[in-house]
Subunit: 256 residues, 2 copies
Protein backbone atom coordinates (compact mmCIF):
# COMPACT_ATOMS: atom_id res chain seq x y z
CA UNK A 1 0.00 0.00 0.00
CA UNK A 2 1.56 3.33 -1.03
CA UNK A 3 2.37 6.29 1.19
CA UNK A 4 0.26 9.24 -0.10
CA UNK A 5 1.81 12.66 0.45
CA UNK A 6 0.26 16.03 -0.48
CA UNK A 7 2.84 18.67 -1.47
CA UNK A 8 1.08 21.82 -0.31
CA UNK A 9 1.40 25.43 0.76
CA UNK A 10 -1.19 28.13 -0.03
CA UNK A 11 1.62 30.66 -0.52
CA UNK A 12 2.35 30.93 -4.20
CA UNK A 13 5.64 30.22 -5.92
CA UNK A 14 7.38 28.44 -3.02
CA UNK A 15 8.49 25.39 -5.01
CA UNK A 16 5.54 22.96 -4.67
CA UNK A 17 5.65 21.82 -8.29
CA UNK A 18 9.46 21.77 -8.43
CA UNK A 19 9.53 19.66 -5.25
CA UNK A 20 6.75 17.33 -6.49
CA UNK A 21 8.49 16.66 -9.81
CA UNK A 22 12.03 16.26 -8.51
CA UNK A 23 11.18 14.32 -5.36
CA UNK A 24 8.99 11.96 -7.43
CA UNK A 25 11.81 11.51 -9.95
CA UNK A 26 14.42 10.93 -7.24
CA UNK A 27 12.20 8.31 -5.56
CA UNK A 28 11.67 6.54 -8.87
CA UNK A 29 15.45 6.41 -9.52
CA UNK A 30 15.95 4.58 -6.19
CA UNK A 31 13.46 1.93 -7.32
CA UNK A 32 10.33 3.22 -5.65
CA UNK A 33 7.32 2.98 -7.94
CA UNK A 34 5.95 6.53 -7.79
CA UNK A 35 2.76 8.23 -8.98
CA UNK A 36 2.57 12.03 -9.26
CA UNK A 37 -0.95 13.54 -9.32
CA UNK A 38 -1.21 17.04 -10.80
CA UNK A 39 -4.06 18.65 -8.87
CA UNK A 40 -3.26 22.19 -10.03
CA UNK A 41 -5.35 23.60 -12.92
CA UNK A 42 -2.18 25.40 -14.06
CA UNK A 43 -0.79 21.98 -15.03
CA UNK A 44 2.85 22.92 -14.31
CA UNK A 45 3.74 19.44 -12.99
CA UNK A 46 2.41 17.85 -16.19
CA UNK A 47 4.47 20.30 -18.27
CA UNK A 48 7.59 19.89 -16.17
CA UNK A 49 7.44 16.14 -16.84
CA UNK A 50 7.01 16.62 -20.57
CA UNK A 51 3.39 15.38 -20.78
CA UNK A 52 2.06 16.63 -24.14
CA UNK A 53 -1.43 18.09 -24.58
CA UNK A 54 -2.76 15.00 -26.31
CA UNK A 55 -1.68 12.83 -23.37
CA UNK A 56 -3.82 14.90 -21.01
CA UNK A 57 -7.31 13.98 -22.27
CA UNK A 58 -7.94 11.94 -19.14
CA UNK A 59 -6.47 13.12 -15.87
CA UNK A 60 -7.20 14.33 -12.37
CA UNK A 61 -10.53 15.94 -13.31
CA UNK A 62 -11.85 12.75 -14.92
CA UNK A 63 -10.64 10.65 -11.96
CA UNK A 64 -12.22 12.92 -9.34
CA UNK A 65 -15.38 14.24 -10.94
CA UNK A 66 -16.27 11.62 -13.58
CA UNK A 67 -15.16 8.60 -11.52
CA UNK A 68 -13.10 7.30 -14.44
CA UNK A 69 -11.05 4.18 -13.58
CA UNK A 70 -7.58 5.18 -12.44
CA UNK A 71 -5.81 3.02 -15.07
CA UNK A 72 -7.29 5.22 -17.81
CA UNK A 73 -6.01 8.40 -16.17
CA UNK A 74 -2.43 7.33 -15.51
CA UNK A 75 0.27 8.26 -18.05
CA UNK A 76 3.63 6.48 -18.04
CA UNK A 77 6.58 8.94 -18.24
CA UNK A 78 9.88 8.22 -20.02
CA UNK A 79 11.44 7.69 -16.58
CA UNK A 80 11.23 4.11 -15.27
CA UNK A 81 9.02 3.71 -12.19
CA UNK A 82 7.47 7.18 -12.61
CA UNK A 83 3.79 7.64 -13.55
CA UNK A 84 1.60 10.77 -13.71
CA UNK A 85 -2.09 11.64 -13.55
CA UNK A 86 -1.99 14.89 -15.54
CA UNK A 87 -4.03 18.07 -15.22
CA UNK A 88 -6.11 19.43 -18.07
CA UNK A 89 -8.23 22.53 -18.58
CA UNK A 90 -11.35 20.91 -17.10
CA UNK A 91 -9.72 21.01 -13.67
CA UNK A 92 -10.19 24.77 -13.41
CA UNK A 93 -13.95 24.25 -13.24
CA UNK A 94 -13.73 21.39 -10.72
CA UNK A 95 -14.04 23.43 -7.53
CA UNK A 96 -17.37 24.96 -8.55
CA UNK A 97 -18.63 21.58 -9.72
CA UNK A 98 -17.61 19.87 -6.46
CA UNK A 99 -19.76 22.21 -4.36
CA UNK A 100 -22.97 20.30 -5.15
CA UNK A 101 -21.49 16.81 -4.84
CA UNK A 102 -22.35 14.62 -1.92
CA UNK A 103 -19.24 14.03 0.23
CA UNK A 104 -17.44 16.66 -1.88
CA UNK A 105 -14.34 16.56 0.36
CA UNK A 106 -13.79 12.84 -0.27
CA UNK A 107 -14.07 12.53 -4.04
CA UNK A 108 -10.33 12.12 -4.57
CA UNK A 109 -9.88 9.79 -1.62
CA UNK A 110 -12.73 7.55 -2.79
CA UNK A 111 -11.33 7.15 -6.30
CA UNK A 112 -7.70 6.86 -5.24
CA UNK A 113 -7.47 4.55 -2.28
CA UNK A 114 -7.69 0.79 -2.84
CA UNK A 115 -6.68 1.24 -6.48
CA UNK A 116 -2.97 1.78 -6.02
CA UNK A 117 -1.67 -1.36 -4.42
CA UNK A 118 1.54 -1.69 -6.42
CA UNK A 119 2.87 1.88 -5.91
CA UNK A 120 5.35 2.76 -3.17
CA UNK A 121 4.69 6.52 -3.15
CA UNK A 122 1.94 8.84 -4.41
CA UNK A 123 2.70 12.60 -4.44
CA UNK A 124 -0.05 15.18 -5.01
CA UNK A 125 1.04 18.61 -6.37
CA UNK A 126 -1.44 21.13 -4.94
CA UNK A 127 -2.51 24.58 -6.18
CA UNK A 128 -1.63 27.72 -4.14
CA UNK A 129 -4.88 27.80 -2.16
CA UNK A 130 -6.85 26.14 0.63
CA UNK A 131 -10.03 25.47 -1.36
CA UNK A 132 -11.94 22.27 -2.13
CA UNK A 133 -9.22 20.82 -4.38
CA UNK A 134 -6.71 21.11 -1.53
CA UNK A 135 -9.18 19.72 1.00
CA UNK A 136 -9.66 16.73 -1.29
CA UNK A 137 -5.89 16.23 -1.39
CA UNK A 138 -5.62 16.45 2.41
CA UNK A 139 -8.49 14.01 2.92
CA UNK A 140 -6.84 11.52 0.56
CA UNK A 141 -3.32 11.80 2.00
CA UNK A 142 -1.39 10.16 4.82
CA UNK A 143 0.69 13.31 5.30
CA UNK A 144 1.53 16.78 3.99
CA UNK A 145 5.00 17.91 2.92
CA UNK A 146 5.29 21.72 3.03
CA UNK A 147 7.85 23.41 0.75
CA UNK A 148 8.78 26.70 2.39
CA UNK A 149 10.53 29.44 0.44
CA UNK A 150 13.10 31.24 2.59
CA UNK A 151 11.22 34.52 2.43
CA UNK A 152 9.23 36.58 4.92
CA UNK A 153 5.72 36.22 3.42
CA UNK A 154 6.14 32.46 3.30
CA UNK A 155 6.59 32.39 7.09
CA UNK A 156 3.42 34.37 7.57
CA UNK A 157 1.31 31.72 5.87
CA UNK A 158 2.54 28.77 7.94
CA UNK A 159 0.26 29.28 10.94
CA UNK A 160 -2.77 29.50 8.63
CA UNK A 161 -1.74 26.21 6.99
CA UNK A 162 -1.24 24.48 10.35
CA UNK A 163 -4.72 25.54 11.49
CA UNK A 164 -6.18 24.13 8.28
CA UNK A 165 -4.38 20.82 8.77
CA UNK A 166 -5.81 20.62 12.30
CA UNK A 167 -9.33 21.31 10.94
CA UNK A 168 -8.94 18.57 8.32
CA UNK A 169 -7.80 16.14 11.01
CA UNK A 170 -10.87 16.91 13.12
CA UNK A 171 -13.45 16.84 10.31
CA UNK A 172 -12.19 14.64 7.47
CA UNK A 173 -8.99 12.67 8.09
CA UNK A 174 -7.89 11.90 11.67
CA UNK A 175 -4.67 10.18 10.52
CA UNK A 176 -3.35 13.19 8.57
CA UNK A 177 0.22 13.89 9.66
CA UNK A 178 2.68 16.71 8.96
CA UNK A 179 5.33 14.88 6.92
CA UNK A 180 7.64 17.84 7.38
CA UNK A 181 8.79 21.22 6.13
CA UNK A 182 11.40 21.55 3.37
CA UNK A 183 13.29 24.83 2.99
CA UNK A 184 13.50 25.86 -0.67
CA UNK A 185 15.29 28.50 -2.74
CA UNK A 186 17.83 28.93 0.04
CA UNK A 187 20.41 31.56 -0.94
CA UNK A 188 23.49 31.54 1.26
CA UNK A 189 24.40 35.08 0.12
CA UNK A 190 21.15 36.44 1.56
CA UNK A 191 20.69 36.95 5.35
CA UNK A 192 16.95 36.58 5.01
CA UNK A 193 17.39 32.88 4.14
CA UNK A 194 19.26 32.27 7.39
CA UNK A 195 16.73 34.23 9.45
CA UNK A 196 13.80 32.28 8.02
CA UNK A 197 15.61 28.92 8.37
CA UNK A 198 16.49 29.72 12.00
CA UNK A 199 12.92 30.80 12.84
CA UNK A 200 11.33 27.72 11.30
CA UNK A 201 13.75 25.26 12.94
CA UNK A 202 13.26 26.82 16.37
CA UNK A 203 9.48 26.54 16.03
CA UNK A 204 9.06 23.20 14.21
CA UNK A 205 12.24 21.42 15.38
CA UNK A 206 12.62 17.88 13.96
CA UNK A 207 9.74 18.39 11.54
CA UNK A 208 12.06 20.55 9.40
CA UNK A 209 14.02 18.37 7.01
CA UNK A 210 17.80 18.53 7.28
CA UNK A 211 18.00 18.70 3.47
CA UNK A 212 17.78 22.30 2.24
CA UNK A 213 17.11 23.02 -1.46
CA UNK A 214 19.42 25.81 -2.71
CA UNK A 215 18.38 28.44 -5.24
CA UNK A 216 19.87 27.00 -8.44
CA UNK A 217 19.35 28.31 -11.97
CA UNK A 218 19.41 24.79 -13.51
CA UNK A 219 16.20 24.02 -11.57
CA UNK A 220 14.36 26.90 -13.22
CA UNK A 221 15.74 26.04 -16.67
CA UNK A 222 14.67 22.38 -16.62
CA UNK A 223 10.89 22.90 -17.16
CA UNK A 224 11.44 24.60 -20.52
CA UNK A 225 13.01 21.29 -21.66
CA UNK A 226 10.07 19.29 -20.27
CA UNK A 227 12.40 17.41 -17.95
CA UNK A 228 12.90 17.23 -14.18
CA UNK A 229 16.10 18.95 -13.02
CA UNK A 230 17.43 15.52 -11.99
CA UNK A 231 17.31 14.38 -15.63
CA UNK A 232 18.23 17.76 -17.17
CA UNK A 233 21.38 18.16 -15.05
CA UNK A 234 22.00 15.35 -12.58
CA UNK A 235 25.16 16.84 -11.08
CA UNK A 236 23.88 20.36 -10.28
CA UNK A 237 23.40 21.42 -6.66
CA UNK A 238 19.60 21.49 -7.01
CA UNK A 239 19.36 17.93 -8.32
CA UNK A 240 21.73 16.58 -5.69
CA UNK A 241 19.62 18.27 -2.99
CA UNK A 242 16.45 16.57 -4.25
CA UNK A 243 18.18 13.18 -4.37
CA UNK A 244 19.30 13.80 -0.80
CA UNK A 245 15.73 14.77 0.12
CA UNK A 246 14.36 11.50 -1.26
CA UNK A 247 16.84 9.54 0.85
CA UNK A 248 15.95 11.53 3.95
CA UNK A 249 12.25 10.88 3.32
CA UNK A 250 12.89 7.11 3.07
CA UNK A 251 14.99 7.20 6.25
CA UNK A 252 12.24 9.06 8.15
CA UNK A 253 9.64 6.60 6.89
CA UNK A 254 11.65 3.66 8.19
CA UNK A 255 11.92 5.14 11.67
CA UNK A 256 8.21 5.98 11.89
CA UNK B 1 -13.48 59.07 -10.57
CA UNK B 2 -10.56 56.71 -9.83
CA UNK B 3 -8.92 54.26 -12.19
CA UNK B 4 -9.44 50.78 -10.72
CA UNK B 5 -6.70 48.26 -11.58
CA UNK B 6 -6.59 44.57 -10.54
CA UNK B 7 -3.05 43.25 -9.99
CA UNK B 8 -3.51 39.61 -10.99
CA UNK B 9 -1.90 36.42 -12.19
CA UNK B 10 -3.03 32.93 -11.14
CA UNK B 11 0.62 31.78 -11.10
CA UNK B 12 1.89 31.96 -7.57
CA UNK B 13 4.80 34.01 -6.30
CA UNK B 14 5.24 36.24 -9.37
CA UNK B 15 5.27 39.55 -7.47
CA UNK B 16 1.57 40.54 -7.32
CA UNK B 17 1.71 41.73 -3.72
CA UNK B 18 5.12 43.34 -4.11
CA UNK B 19 3.90 45.20 -7.20
CA UNK B 20 0.61 46.23 -5.52
CA UNK B 21 2.36 47.65 -2.46
CA UNK B 22 5.21 49.41 -4.23
CA UNK B 23 3.22 50.74 -7.16
CA UNK B 24 0.56 52.08 -4.76
CA UNK B 25 3.27 53.71 -2.63
CA UNK B 26 5.01 55.21 -5.66
CA UNK B 27 1.71 56.66 -6.94
CA UNK B 28 0.96 58.17 -3.53
CA UNK B 29 4.41 59.83 -3.41
CA UNK B 30 3.64 61.61 -6.71
CA UNK B 31 0.48 63.04 -5.18
CA UNK B 32 -2.05 60.53 -6.45
CA UNK B 33 -4.55 59.60 -3.75
CA UNK B 34 -4.36 55.80 -3.80
CA UNK B 35 -6.38 52.97 -2.24
CA UNK B 36 -4.96 49.42 -2.04
CA UNK B 37 -7.50 46.63 -1.55
CA UNK B 38 -6.11 43.37 -0.14
CA UNK B 39 -8.27 40.66 -1.71
CA UNK B 40 -5.94 37.80 -0.76
CA UNK B 41 -6.86 35.77 2.35
CA UNK B 42 -3.12 35.45 2.98
CA UNK B 43 -3.12 39.17 3.84
CA UNK B 44 0.43 39.76 2.61
CA UNK B 45 -0.35 43.26 1.27
CA UNK B 46 -1.76 44.27 4.67
CA UNK B 47 1.39 42.93 6.39
CA UNK B 48 3.75 44.54 3.89
CA UNK B 49 2.17 47.91 4.67
CA UNK B 50 2.49 47.42 8.42
CA UNK B 51 -1.25 47.07 9.16
CA UNK B 52 -1.50 45.49 12.62
CA UNK B 53 -3.98 42.73 13.50
CA UNK B 54 -6.22 45.07 15.47
CA UNK B 55 -6.53 47.40 12.49
CA UNK B 56 -7.95 44.55 10.39
CA UNK B 57 -11.30 44.02 12.15
CA UNK B 58 -13.13 45.52 9.20
CA UNK B 59 -11.76 44.95 5.72
CA UNK B 60 -12.40 43.43 2.31
CA UNK B 61 -14.62 40.65 3.65
CA UNK B 62 -16.90 43.07 5.52
CA UNK B 63 -17.07 45.37 2.49
CA UNK B 64 -17.93 42.59 0.03
CA UNK B 65 -20.02 40.13 2.02
CA UNK B 66 -21.52 42.23 4.83
CA UNK B 67 -22.05 45.37 2.75
CA UNK B 68 -20.34 47.51 5.40
CA UNK B 69 -19.86 51.15 4.35
CA UNK B 70 -16.49 51.63 2.72
CA UNK B 71 -15.42 54.41 5.14
CA UNK B 72 -15.48 51.87 7.99
CA UNK B 73 -13.23 49.44 6.07
CA UNK B 74 -10.53 51.87 4.98
CA UNK B 75 -7.37 52.22 7.09
CA UNK B 76 -5.05 55.19 6.65
CA UNK B 77 -1.38 54.17 6.38
CA UNK B 78 1.55 56.22 7.69
CA UNK B 79 2.26 57.24 4.10
CA UNK B 80 0.43 60.38 2.94
CA UNK B 81 -2.14 59.76 0.19
CA UNK B 82 -2.07 55.96 0.74
CA UNK B 83 -5.06 54.07 2.15
CA UNK B 84 -5.74 50.33 2.53
CA UNK B 85 -8.74 48.03 2.86
CA UNK B 86 -7.04 45.16 4.72
CA UNK B 87 -7.61 41.42 4.59
CA UNK B 88 -8.56 39.40 7.66
CA UNK B 89 -9.13 35.70 8.38
CA UNK B 90 -12.82 35.87 7.38
CA UNK B 91 -11.78 36.35 3.76
CA UNK B 92 -10.68 32.72 3.46
CA UNK B 93 -14.31 31.67 3.83
CA UNK B 94 -15.63 34.27 1.38
CA UNK B 95 -15.51 32.18 -1.79
CA UNK B 96 -17.76 29.44 -0.36
CA UNK B 97 -20.11 32.06 1.06
CA UNK B 98 -20.34 33.94 -2.25
CA UNK B 99 -21.60 30.85 -4.11
CA UNK B 100 -25.16 31.30 -2.86
CA UNK B 101 -25.31 35.08 -3.25
CA UNK B 102 -27.39 36.64 -5.96
CA UNK B 103 -25.10 38.38 -8.50
CA UNK B 104 -22.11 36.80 -6.74
CA UNK B 105 -19.67 38.08 -9.37
CA UNK B 106 -20.59 41.71 -8.72
CA UNK B 107 -20.46 42.01 -4.93
CA UNK B 108 -17.18 43.92 -4.91
CA UNK B 109 -18.15 46.14 -7.83
CA UNK B 110 -21.48 47.05 -6.22
CA UNK B 111 -19.89 48.09 -2.90
CA UNK B 112 -16.89 49.81 -4.47
CA UNK B 113 -18.05 51.91 -7.35
CA UNK B 114 -19.71 55.29 -6.68
CA UNK B 115 -18.09 55.39 -3.21
CA UNK B 116 -14.59 56.40 -4.20
CA UNK B 117 -14.92 59.73 -5.90
CA UNK B 118 -11.90 61.42 -4.34
CA UNK B 119 -9.29 58.70 -5.12
CA UNK B 120 -7.07 58.84 -8.22
CA UNK B 121 -6.13 55.13 -8.23
CA UNK B 122 -7.49 51.95 -6.68
CA UNK B 123 -5.27 48.83 -6.85
CA UNK B 124 -6.60 45.36 -5.97
CA UNK B 125 -4.03 42.71 -4.88
CA UNK B 126 -5.43 39.36 -6.04
CA UNK B 127 -4.83 35.82 -4.75
CA UNK B 128 -3.02 33.25 -6.99
CA UNK B 129 -6.20 31.79 -8.48
CA UNK B 130 -9.04 32.41 -10.93
CA UNK B 131 -11.88 31.79 -8.51
CA UNK B 132 -14.83 33.93 -7.40
CA UNK B 133 -12.67 36.45 -5.51
CA UNK B 134 -10.67 37.11 -8.67
CA UNK B 135 -13.81 37.29 -10.80
CA UNK B 136 -15.15 39.90 -8.38
CA UNK B 137 -11.94 41.90 -8.79
CA UNK B 138 -12.13 41.67 -12.59
CA UNK B 139 -15.80 42.73 -12.63
CA UNK B 140 -15.01 45.76 -10.46
CA UNK B 141 -11.92 46.89 -12.38
CA UNK B 142 -11.23 49.10 -15.40
CA UNK B 143 -8.12 47.06 -16.25
CA UNK B 144 -5.76 44.27 -15.16
CA UNK B 145 -2.03 44.70 -14.61
CA UNK B 146 -0.22 41.35 -14.88
CA UNK B 147 3.10 40.92 -13.03
CA UNK B 148 5.05 38.24 -14.88
CA UNK B 149 8.01 36.51 -13.26
CA UNK B 150 10.78 35.87 -15.81
CA UNK B 151 10.45 32.10 -15.49
CA UNK B 152 9.14 29.33 -17.74
CA UNK B 153 6.05 28.28 -15.75
CA UNK B 154 4.89 31.88 -15.58
CA UNK B 155 4.76 32.03 -19.38
CA UNK B 156 2.64 28.90 -19.48
CA UNK B 157 -0.10 30.50 -17.42
CA UNK B 158 -0.49 33.64 -19.56
CA UNK B 159 -2.73 32.12 -22.23
CA UNK B 160 -5.07 30.76 -19.54
CA UNK B 161 -5.25 34.24 -17.96
CA UNK B 162 -5.98 35.91 -21.30
CA UNK B 163 -8.83 33.48 -21.98
CA UNK B 164 -10.28 34.27 -18.56
CA UNK B 165 -10.10 38.01 -19.21
CA UNK B 166 -11.95 37.50 -22.48
CA UNK B 167 -14.64 35.48 -20.67
CA UNK B 168 -15.07 38.21 -18.05
CA UNK B 169 -15.38 40.80 -20.80
CA UNK B 170 -18.14 38.80 -22.48
CA UNK B 171 -20.11 37.89 -19.35
CA UNK B 172 -19.49 40.49 -16.65
CA UNK B 173 -17.49 43.57 -17.64
CA UNK B 174 -17.32 44.62 -21.31
CA UNK B 175 -14.96 47.54 -20.58
CA UNK B 176 -12.27 45.40 -18.91
CA UNK B 177 -8.91 46.19 -20.52
CA UNK B 178 -5.44 44.65 -20.24
CA UNK B 179 -3.52 47.47 -18.53
CA UNK B 180 -0.29 45.70 -19.38
CA UNK B 181 2.30 43.12 -18.42
CA UNK B 182 5.17 43.98 -16.05
CA UNK B 183 8.27 41.77 -16.03
CA UNK B 184 9.38 41.03 -12.47
CA UNK B 185 12.38 39.41 -10.73
CA UNK B 186 14.45 39.98 -13.86
CA UNK B 187 17.98 38.67 -13.34
CA UNK B 188 20.45 39.87 -15.95
CA UNK B 189 22.90 37.06 -15.06
CA UNK B 190 20.33 34.44 -16.07
CA UNK B 191 19.59 33.66 -19.76
CA UNK B 192 16.09 32.49 -18.88
CA UNK B 193 15.10 36.06 -17.97
CA UNK B 194 16.10 37.27 -21.44
CA UNK B 195 14.33 34.40 -23.18
CA UNK B 196 11.09 35.03 -21.30
CA UNK B 197 11.30 38.81 -21.81
CA UNK B 198 11.91 38.33 -25.54
CA UNK B 199 9.02 35.86 -25.90
CA UNK B 200 6.56 38.08 -24.08
CA UNK B 201 7.50 41.24 -25.96
CA UNK B 202 7.23 39.51 -29.34
CA UNK B 203 3.75 38.25 -28.46
CA UNK B 204 2.25 41.16 -26.52
CA UNK B 205 4.22 44.08 -28.06
CA UNK B 206 3.34 47.49 -26.61
CA UNK B 207 1.26 45.92 -23.83
CA UNK B 208 4.52 44.97 -22.10
CA UNK B 209 5.74 47.84 -19.94
CA UNK B 210 9.18 49.23 -20.72
CA UNK B 211 9.96 49.27 -16.98
CA UNK B 212 11.38 45.94 -15.85
CA UNK B 213 11.58 45.12 -12.12
CA UNK B 214 14.99 43.56 -11.28
CA UNK B 215 15.48 40.81 -8.70
CA UNK B 216 16.68 42.83 -5.70
CA UNK B 217 17.23 41.55 -2.17
CA UNK B 218 16.05 44.80 -0.55
CA UNK B 219 12.57 44.15 -1.99
CA UNK B 220 12.32 40.83 -0.20
CA UNK B 221 13.70 42.29 3.06
CA UNK B 222 11.21 45.17 3.26
CA UNK B 223 8.08 43.16 4.30
CA UNK B 224 9.75 41.94 7.51
CA UNK B 225 9.97 45.62 8.51
CA UNK B 226 6.31 46.21 7.62
CA UNK B 227 7.31 48.81 5.03
CA UNK B 228 7.17 49.07 1.26
CA UNK B 229 10.60 48.77 -0.39
CA UNK B 230 10.25 52.41 -1.50
CA UNK B 231 10.17 53.52 2.15
CA UNK B 232 12.60 50.83 3.43
CA UNK B 233 15.30 51.73 0.89
CA UNK B 234 14.38 54.45 -1.56
CA UNK B 235 17.64 54.34 -3.51
CA UNK B 236 17.81 50.58 -4.22
CA UNK B 237 17.32 49.32 -7.78
CA UNK B 238 13.98 47.73 -6.92
CA UNK B 239 12.48 50.90 -5.48
CA UNK B 240 13.70 53.01 -8.37
CA UNK B 241 12.12 50.54 -10.80
CA UNK B 242 8.73 50.81 -9.07
CA UNK B 243 8.93 54.62 -9.11
CA UNK B 244 9.71 54.40 -12.80
CA UNK B 245 6.74 52.03 -13.24
CA UNK B 246 4.36 54.50 -11.60
CA UNK B 247 5.51 57.23 -13.98
CA UNK B 248 5.10 54.95 -16.98
CA UNK B 249 1.57 54.06 -15.82
CA UNK B 250 0.65 57.76 -15.56
CA UNK B 251 2.14 58.44 -19.00
CA UNK B 252 0.18 55.56 -20.55
CA UNK B 253 -3.03 56.77 -18.89
CA UNK B 254 -2.58 60.25 -20.38
CA UNK B 255 -2.20 58.88 -23.90
CA UNK B 256 -5.23 56.59 -23.66
N1 LIG C 1 15.52 25.82 -5.89
C1 LIG C 1 15.15 26.60 -6.91
N2 LIG C 1 16.09 27.38 -7.52
C2 LIG C 1 15.72 28.20 -8.54
N3 LIG C 1 14.47 28.33 -9.03
C3 LIG C 1 13.52 27.58 -8.46
C4 LIG C 1 13.79 26.67 -7.38
N4 LIG C 1 12.63 26.07 -7.03
C5 LIG C 1 11.68 26.57 -7.85
N5 LIG C 1 12.20 27.46 -8.73
C6 LIG C 1 11.50 28.26 -9.74
O1 LIG C 1 10.68 29.18 -9.04
C7 LIG C 1 9.39 29.25 -9.65
C8 LIG C 1 8.34 28.81 -8.62
O2 LIG C 1 8.48 27.45 -8.35
P1 LIG C 1 7.22 26.45 -8.49
O3 LIG C 1 6.43 26.80 -9.69
O4 LIG C 1 7.72 25.07 -8.33
O5 LIG C 1 6.41 26.88 -7.19
P2 LIG C 1 4.92 26.50 -6.80
O6 LIG C 1 4.83 26.63 -5.33
O7 LIG C 1 4.56 25.21 -7.41
O8 LIG C 1 4.08 27.69 -7.51
P3 LIG C 1 2.48 27.79 -7.56
O9 LIG C 1 2.13 28.40 -6.23
O10 LIG C 1 2.18 28.71 -8.72
O11 LIG C 1 1.96 26.42 -7.75
C9 LIG C 1 9.44 28.36 -10.87
O12 LIG C 1 9.67 29.17 -12.00
C10 LIG C 1 10.60 27.41 -10.61
O13 LIG C 1 11.24 27.00 -11.78
N1 LIG D 1 11.90 42.05 -7.58
C1 LIG D 1 12.04 41.22 -6.56
N2 LIG D 1 13.27 40.92 -6.11
C2 LIG D 1 13.43 40.05 -5.07
N3 LIG D 1 12.43 39.45 -4.42
C3 LIG D 1 11.18 39.71 -4.82
C4 LIG D 1 10.90 40.61 -5.90
N4 LIG D 1 9.55 40.68 -6.05
C5 LIG D 1 9.01 39.86 -5.12
N5 LIG D 1 9.99 39.29 -4.37
C6 LIG D 1 9.82 38.31 -3.28
O1 LIG D 1 9.35 37.12 -3.91
C7 LIG D 1 8.29 36.53 -3.12
C8 LIG D 1 7.04 36.47 -3.98
O2 LIG D 1 6.55 37.77 -4.23
P1 LIG D 1 5.03 38.16 -3.88
O3 LIG D 1 4.64 37.58 -2.59
O4 LIG D 1 4.88 39.63 -4.07
O5 LIG D 1 4.31 37.40 -5.08
P2 LIG D 1 2.74 37.13 -5.23
O6 LIG D 1 2.50 36.94 -6.67
O7 LIG D 1 1.98 38.18 -4.53
O8 LIG D 1 2.59 35.73 -4.44
P3 LIG D 1 1.17 34.98 -4.18
O9 LIG D 1 0.91 34.25 -5.46
O10 LIG D 1 1.45 34.06 -3.00
O11 LIG D 1 0.17 36.04 -3.86
C9 LIG D 1 8.14 37.41 -1.89
O12 LIG D 1 8.84 36.82 -0.84
C10 LIG D 1 8.77 38.74 -2.29
O13 LIG D 1 9.34 39.41 -1.21
MG1 LIG E 1 2.87 24.73 -8.61
MG1 LIG F 1 0.44 37.96 -3.12
Amino acid sequence: IPKIIAIANQKGGVGKTTTSINLATALSTINKKTLLIDLDPQGNASTGLGISTDQRHYGTYELMIQDMPIEQCVVKTEIPNLYVIPSNEHLSGAELELIDHDKREFKLRKNLRDNLIDYDFVLIDCPPALGLLNINAFSASDSILVPLQCEFYALEGLSHLMRTIQRIRTNFNPDLDLQGIVLTMYDKRNNLSDLVAHDVRSFFGEKVYQTVIPRNVKISEAPSHGKPAIIYDYKCAGSQAYIHLAKELIKREKIM
